[in-house]
């Protein structure tokens, strides 16, 4: 029995789609996982600055083996390059930036998001504990975007009426990019503003726990 062709956007498509919405001049923090893929998909004509919570503004790409600097890792503990004009600082100032509202966008992975903008992404019962900077990022950033699969591995919806997992923050998410489309928490429901190619509205409704409305731009199966 072969796996069915995955529905909607791939992880890379998802990052490409989200990257389109990052404006020129934005200060952005990218969470570990799919969000980090955004960095390599920013359109060439835009200057975007990436913040890493371990203390650098001006994160660059992945270094070649001979470019590795042992003093330069990203928040995912991977060796990383910096760009010209980068600034280094300590963790207290790094989170002054985060909590103080100076980041334009924080992009995080998610386990559950509600129509009121609550996010759960830090704790699963029985898993190794860890919270990292997620609670600070969702509190302080001007916009919080979540990038995630539309459902979990068992097909259970992740766009929820209520979180069943412990929340990272409440009323904090401004936009959700899933493998099926782009969604804005609208209080009582999610508004879908874009659909992935080949995805129709009925499929989205069936895989979403919360109510969904569709903006005119979210055209069936384009």
């Amino acid at each position: 029995m072969s796996e069915p062709e995955p529905l909607g956007w791939s992880r890379d498509d998802l990052a490409t789609r989200a990257a389109l919405d990052v404006p020129d001049g934005a200060y952005v923090n990218l969470g570990i996982g799919i969000p980090m893929l955004i960095a390599s998909h920013i359109p060439d004509d835009r200057e975007v600055w990436f913040h890493t919570e371990n203390g650098v503004l001006g994160l660059g790409g992945v270094p070649e083996a001979d470019e590795i600097d042992l003093d330069m890792q990203n928040a995912g503990k991977e060796y990383s390059k910096i760009v010209v004009g980068a600034a280094a600082f300590d963790s207290a100032l790094s989170f002054a930036i985060v909590r103080g509202g100076h980041l334009d966008i924080a992009v995080l992975g998610g386990m559950q998001v509600t129509a009121t903008g609550d996010l759960a992404n830090w704790s699963v019962p029985g898993r190794t504990p860890g919270v990292g900077g997620a609670m600070d990022l969702v509190t302080g950033s001007k916009q919080v975007w979540v990038l995630m699969e539309h459902t979990d591995r068992t097909g259970t919806p992740k766009l929820m009426r209520h979180c069943t997992l412990p929340v990272t923050g409440t009323r904090c998410v401004s936009r959700v990019y899933t493998t099926l489309g782009v969604f804005q928490p609208a209080g009582t429901h999610f508004e879908c503003i874009d659909l992935a190619p080949g995805v129709d509205r009925e499929t989205v409704r069936g895989l979403t726990d919360a109510e969904v409305t569709f903006h005119d731009d979210a055209r069936d199966g384009h």
């Binding site: 919570e53 042992l70 910096i82 609670m135 509190t139």
Partner: protein
């Protein structure tokens, strides 16, 4: 004359007793004072309360202290290593899980004479409402929870009261240090080392190099020597392993 440079790590750290509270700098594997952590292990120190962002990933640095069962309590944001998970769920170690920004700010506050502050971070979450386990018994049952935090609303936003973390000792790692304890760091290895050094009542620094006084220009000192009591040359193996991080 002030000379904070020490020759022997074991002798230097022998003043740290069992049971001490110790803040440790570093993030992942950048800026971790691995040599000082090793020395604590070689001195066979136990029942430690370690305050650090990570609990270590592979068995070096904080990870070695954890793996050898030297902790009675860990305060940090990302204690995600298997040894810690096992010890925590078997009731062998207490956990104070703290959001990363709150952790950095609590360390800084500890060194800055700020006993407590309000932050919106974690308000309304399990970490603030007394709903997260702090300790298990030997059978996997929760025997203590993180305390519920005081809440106060500022400008319409619910905020929680967080207290300073001031510890008996701090272990940090710098790129350059002088005999006065002035420290300079490189790139992402500065991270928690500055707030950690502030938080310790007695702060030990291992430095990649020890330089003459004046070599670090006044405007380039990232942490003035008044926060640092002891400085020691880091041993080569503790900072130049090329693929150490990638293996974890």
């Amino acid at each position: 004359m002030i000379n904070k440079v020490r020759a022997d790590a074991l002798e230097m750290l022998s003043i740290v007793p069992d049971g001490a509270s110790i803040t440790i700098g570093g993030f992942g594997l950048t800026g971790v004072p691995i040599m000082l952590c090793d020395a604590l292990c070689e001195l066979d120190r136990k029942d430690l309360h370690i305050v650090s962002n990570n609990a270590g990933i592979d068995p070096t640095g904080v990870g070695r202290l954890v793996g050898e069962g030297r902790l009675r309590k860990f305060t940090g944001s990302f204690p995600s290593n298997k040894d810690f998970f096992t010890l925590f769920h078997r009731g062998r170690v207490e956990l104070e899980l703290v959001p990363q920004g709150t952790l950095a700010e609590r360390m800084r506050a500890g060194g800055a004479g700020i006993p407590a502050f309000y932050t919106p971070t974690s308000a309304g979450t399990d970490l603030a409402t007394g709903s997260y386990p702090a300790r298990y018994d030997g059978n996997g049952q929760v025997t203590a929870w993180l305390p519920a935090k005081d809440v106060r609303v500022f400008g319409g936003t619910a905020c929680v009261l967080e207290t300073a973390l001031a510890t008996d000792f701090a272990l940090v790692k710098s790129h350059r240090a002088d005999r006065l304890g002035n420290l300079a760091f490189r790139l992402a290895s500065r991270n928690f080392n500055v707030p950690a050094a502030m938080a310790g009542r007695v702060t030990f620094c291992e430095s990649q190099s020890i330089v003459e006084v004046g070599e670090i220009e006044p405007d380039d000192v990232h942490l003035p020597g008044i926060f640092v009591q002891h400085v020691i040359q880091s041993r080569p193996g503790s900072f130049d392993a090329p693929n150490r991080g990638a293996a974890s």
